[in-house]
Point group: D2
Chain length 337, copies 4
């Protein structure tokens, strides 16, 4: 074991999560304390419907610890997202809309491009394309709408670029091409995410102003869509729909060992061993065992088809409300039909 440690290659165990709240939990765990992390500020707010956690990564130290870019990560968590509870969903929509608007800093003249990442043929990865179908697009109505309405409507376009395995093109390249053509002021990108904890699947919405790497949820990470690559701000919205199989196995095993240590006489030897073990090596071992299938397997709940449809509706409406404050929800329903 020691020998291995010395030869250790720089293979990082990142419990596969796209959620800042889980990255923070992991970072705190690593430090074996629950104090706050340097360069990271956290605010939590609870209502009877949801919990909102606002994680701010303030500087390079925070970014290093968290493994995520400097910026804001706002997470709404609610078990009610998994239920067919229209009243609660309307509350969550409105709250999400406020936070999207807060992150966006739009003027009345702003043009917005909404980008739905993911693959419409793989249910847990279809969130982005499904949201696009429900976005109130208006860019093509310029000159068509009555002037009075026109004044209070922002120009909105939307696109689902597909995934690199199907297009042969980096998603960022497609969006760069479209951005150069359309010259929007803001990109809002939606993607299905991977969470570490199964309990967060389909019950969590993350909004951030730091961009997004397409294919985070299902598949490999690619070039990031952000202000650097696109030249304009990028708001990212996501919902975790899958757990990475290797991460699930790793975490279950850890909790199992804890249970066993607590119960057995062999506990002490075990405990020592656990301490001597390197987290990265352990994870790498799991990945090796699962090979060559690991990149292709994911863990998802049975009802994923029905839930993704519902989540797409919630997120699309939150975006519609956030970027078209001049028109009511009823107008939106009338237009989007």
């Amino acid at each position: 074991m020691k020998k291995q440690k010395q030869n250790k290659i720089a293979w990082n165990f990142s419990p596969r999560t796209d959620l800042a709240i889980e990255a923070r939990e992991f970072a705190q765990q690593q430090k074996q304390n629950t104090e706050e992390l340097d360069g990271v500020k956290v605010e939590i707010k609870n209502t009877d419907i949801y919990q909102i956690t606002h994680v701010k990564i303030l500087n390079e130290t925070g970014s290093q610890t968290m493994g995520k870019p400097i910026g804001n990560y706002i997470t709404i968590e609610s078990e009610l997202l998994k239920q067919n509870d229209i009243t609660s969903h309307e509350q969550i929509m409105k709250t999400a809309a406020e936070h999207i608007a807060g992150l966006s800093k739009l003027s009345q003249k702003s043009t917005i491009l909404v980008v739905g990442l993911g693959n419409w043929n793989i249910t847990p990865d279809a969130l982005g394309p499904k949201v696009i179908d429900k976005i109130l697009v208006t860019r093509h109505l310029d000159g068509v709408l009555p002037e009075e309405i026109q004044k209070s409507v922002r120009s909105v376009a939307a696109i689902s670029p597909g995934v690199m395995g199907i297009t042969g093109i980096e998603t960022v390249e497609i969006i760069q091409g479209v951005v150069e053509k359309l010259k929007p002021d803001l990109v809002i990108a939606i993607d299905a995410l991977a969470a570490r904890k199964f309990s967060r699947i389909n019950s969590t919405i993350q909004m951030s102003d730091t961009g997004v790497a397409p294919g985070a949820g299902v598949g490999n990470k690619r070039m990031t869509l952000n202000e650097q690559t696109l030249g304009i701000p990028v708001i990212a919205l996501g919902v975790p729909t899958v757990v990475d199989a290797a991460t699930l196995i790793n975490d279950t095993m850890d909790r199992m060992l804890e249970e066993m240590i607590a119960q057995t006489e062999q506990g002490s030897a075990f405990y020592e061993m656990l301490h001597n073990m390197d987290t990265d090596e352990k994870y790498k071992l799991i990945v090796d065992i699962l090979n060559p299938y690991v990149g292709n397997m994911f863990v998802t709940p049975k009802e994923v088809d029905a839930v993704v449809e519902r989540l797409a509706n919630i997120i699309a409406n939150a975006i519609n409300i956030a970027i078209q404050p001049g028109i009511t929800m009823e107008d939106i329903n009338r237009f989007t039909y």
Copy 2:
């Protein structure tokens, strides 16, 4: 009637068809003869599996008469396309591949962008996106494939841009943006088409070198994807999946009147009337009666869901064979998995 004729606005009856073979039938009908049209050359070839019709529009005269741009229109017709007959489909695939290759004039170094037009949420309009899912894309494999294979593989990318009602963007704008980024040598565009005759639905493949106006099959025609708008040649492939309701009514009525004329004593008065009637006005009247629903209704066969899936497979494989002659069909199957 005469009065109306004098006031006639320039509203053209075009029996809604995207097929050159049907445009030709209509033009001949109008001239009440079956001689060949000026500026149009036609070659027909029959096998026991399919009929191929090659319509060449040679000059401006032909283009005017046909209502279509100068160029080549090759149509494969086969009732077997509607059946689950693998052997015949392989024959049709190979023939289509030859004609696509013939229209394409590719060099070994050519880069190709395949564009799947249409809306993946409307079954009869989903042909384009479904083909894209089955195209062997290779552009992202540059540097990944073994050099030996790399040499014999053309760089291929593929995209489904969506429809303007969902994106708020003219499809041509999106493709222009992507073409500027990728600099391909050729675009191959696939779209669902509208036919005039129900018998041609799902049993006809049209290939042409004159470009394509997205949304021809379902919805309104938009800006055309062609060499003028994209700066590179455009091969268009399409299969008719719907009949326009107004066209179907118009044609059924015409055939009905013919029947009635043949049968009744009132035939002579009727016949005269038919002659005095203006085709355009008659069609406009139908459209008026069907309003405001006419743009939203289409006629399609019940089994359209199953058949579109099968046609997408045939067309995708025909394209794969045409643009990747260096690799066998088995290689393609292995890669596209």
Copy 3:
């Protein structure tokens, strides 16, 4: 023409409609008056959201005239059904629930079997199966639910038997087999319907206590599910999702001829001819012209995929509210998840 009339075979023109309100319109039209029909009683009620028409066929005379069995036919019509307008839909749900309850005459101990007719692979025919997915079934929870809840919950089962073309079995036979096994007190059957007027597509809900012939909407009529064939009362719910192509052509042509008569000097000869024409023969001629495709073609709106999903939700919830008055809509949402 006269000769033909003498030889006339008993081929009935039924404008293909499953709606009692359209059958009534047609019967009145035939009589060329707008007085009420013998043996038929009609009540109409309007709100700002919907119009309800209650057609009662009182006796054999009414049944003959209408071409439908004696009983109640309640229709809710609302353009808002086509829009994504949650508030109006909740109103319509509640109203539909009241009428379903009124037709059902259930006791607290009643067991209900909900039957979703139609083919889940053909979008406009998938209404029934989609409703089934959203019905709150409870039969299997007997002994599982807390007793307090159990008391106020009726035993509900649900099934989508499929269509005869796929199963090779008359739907009635399957339901008879299941009814013999389960011994329910009531069947509620849901089916997609055919309307005569395109304006009624997706904007009309019909509820009746006279049973239903599966495959009315798309395909041929089959053996009827009713009290005679099943031995228990059958409530039928339906939404028209398609127009029969031959009916659409027939009706458009009629309106066109009217227009032409009004406009032309040949009007008088035409008018006479129209009078001499037999409605049945005219329709049969259309069917002949459309053959062999007529049974396979239907006219449907583009957005049918999205709308059927929404309508299934409205109807499933109306049924859930109607048959489970002991539990609130929130409970239902909680259970059905």
Copy 4:
């Protein structure tokens, strides 16, 4: 640990697998040898396309050891099932057809009911319903087909009963009702299965003559469809499309511990501990940790949507060939359209 062992409740670790070949591997592993098991006979045959394993459970001893009923389990394994390789698939179809025919013992007059188990809304569970869509049903054609063809065609019906969570009815009850009505001589039931090894997902077809418990693949096991419950023989066909998450974790952990034992100085203590550990307790611990989500999570490959479609085609054709030897594959294609 010992204390626990004494208190051990009878909670059986069954690595969640529906494959007899995996049950046998597990049983041999438990015995820590590779000799053949008592009461179990195995024959293996290899071709360059597939491997066939015929497991015969001969008596009660074998049944106990394997945890499966006495009877025949024939498994075709081929990686080519995951590829779009038509030629190999035709080979596999024919081989599967032969074995289905062998297990079926049909006479010319036999009537067959094909039952597609599973939920058409959950992709990895939709195999059964998708097969049903492609079965050549003939029962309703009695009296319709030309007599010459009729003579060589067996009467075939097919049904997808749905899952208990949607119907509220035990699947066996529905099938009993239909069997009583139709009086078939044989039931062929198709279901998605769970495998233990991810490598077997979508690459294995199991055929058996021992019946099937619906919902094996996704969800809880229910009452079995077999000769006892239905009164007629039941042939079961299945393809594993998911791995149970708890089983995957358990197996990965076992292999990991083996690796760690081989590498560490603590190996001996570990090894001892592993020996002292009870398999059932370990698995139960995993299930406890994953609770309340364990019943709802499954592990599946990304491309499951595309592959299930293809597998449904292979299995449906294998059944069509097996039960309709009097007509050729071309006839079948012609009929099933």
